[in-house]
């Protein structure tokens, strides 16, 4: 498997015409809410069979990363559980869908995340599959981490991860990640 030759601008977002939002959400990423949004996403993409499953797969991975790792969160008292707060946007253009999540991270983690994205973007597909297997095998089940989800996003979309970091203050930044899915016929 080889990567498609897609335009990528590492310094910013995709350079495209304004696309139509399918939906946007900002708030706590409760799994039941994400399930509802995921069902809506499946419905809205039902005419793009090849892309529908890809979008849903990565929708789950990225939103669960926000739910698990956002530094802005709701504490659910009954079992000390945290639910991450963030933003989600799905948009559609004539030729592709864009899936974007944004959440608060520690400044030092933002650097780690950007390094990971760079490595993932520069790694050939076959080596990335090896990395995914290695990550899965070496991680404890309860702490698989966000990295495997990022690897999966790159492998499934076959497009580079488009990320931006906005500094909030000395300690925290916002991490915004966009994954592009080309429409039917290109997979």
């Amino acid at each position: 498997m080889t990567w498609k030759n897609t335009p990528y601008n590492p310094a910013g977002s995709w350079k495209i015409d304004p696309e139509t939002p399918v939906f946007t959400f900002e708030g706590p990423f409760f799994i039941d809410l994400l399930t509802m949004l995921g069902n809506y996403l499946k419905m809205m993409t039902s005419s793009h069979q090849a892309i529908q499953k890809k979008l849903f797969r990565i929708f789950v991975e990225l939103t669960q990363n926000v739910s698990n790792y956002s530094e802005e969160y709701l504490q659910i008292n009954q079992d000390n559980k945290k639910v991450g707060i963030g933003e989600l946007r799905i948009a559609e253009d004539q030729n592709f869908f864009l899936l974007t999540t944004k959440n608060l991270v520690r400044a030092r983690d933002a650097n780690v995340l950007s390094q990971r994205c760079e490595i993932i973007n520069q790694t050939p597909a076959d080596q990335l599959k090896d990395l995914k297997r290695e990550l899965r095998k070496s991680s404890a089940g309860y702490m698989l981490g966000a990295r495997i989800g990022l690897v999966q996003a790159r492998l499934i979309s076959m497009n580079p991860l488009d990320y931006i970091i906005f500094e909030k203050n000395m300690d925290y930044s916002y991490f915004k990640l966009t994954v592009k899915f080309d429409k039917d016929g290109e997979y």
């Binding site: 797969r57 789950v60 095998k137």
Partner: protein, 127 residues
């Protein structure tokens, strides 16, 4: 040994259906699996397989009919496959069949990855 039976609930579609039958060794996981803290859901299943392979020692047949699973679930599935591999190496009889949707090429890739990673033979069948 008791059976495990978990029926899919429409209000929590992120949990799969599970049926593990101790008398026949037939185990089936189906539906979708993208719950939070997947290891909490899968730990009783892993423990059941451990007990079956240590006490019952019969043939174990696993049928995977998942149309979608998240990466946390994939780690738990790998743990199950490692148990099956160990059982096979000890002389146990196992059979793994993975059903997939022919319109989902990523799932086929995923299953082949698993087969390589787990170092087990899977029967790969269309739904």
């Amino acid at each position: 040994m008791e059976n495990i039976e978990i029926n899919r609930n429409v209000s929590t579609p992120y949990y799969p259906s599970v049926y593990f039958d101790a008398s026949s060794g037939m185990c089936e996981v189906s539906g979708e699996s993208y719950m939070e803290e997947a290891y909490k859901f899968y730990l009783p299943l892993i423990n059941w397989i451990k007990k079956y392979t240590e006490e019952e020692k019969g043939k174990l047949t696993l049928q995977v009919k998942l149309i979608y699973f998240n990466t946390s679930t994939s780690k738990c599935l790998l743990d199950i496959f490692e148990l099956l591999k160990k059982y096979k190496q000890q002389g146990g009889q196992i059979e793994v069949t993975w059903f997939y949707d022919k319109d989902d090429p990523d799932m086929v890739d995923e299953v082949r990855d698993f087969e390589k990673e787990a170092d087990l033979h899977f029967n790969i069948r269309e739904f």
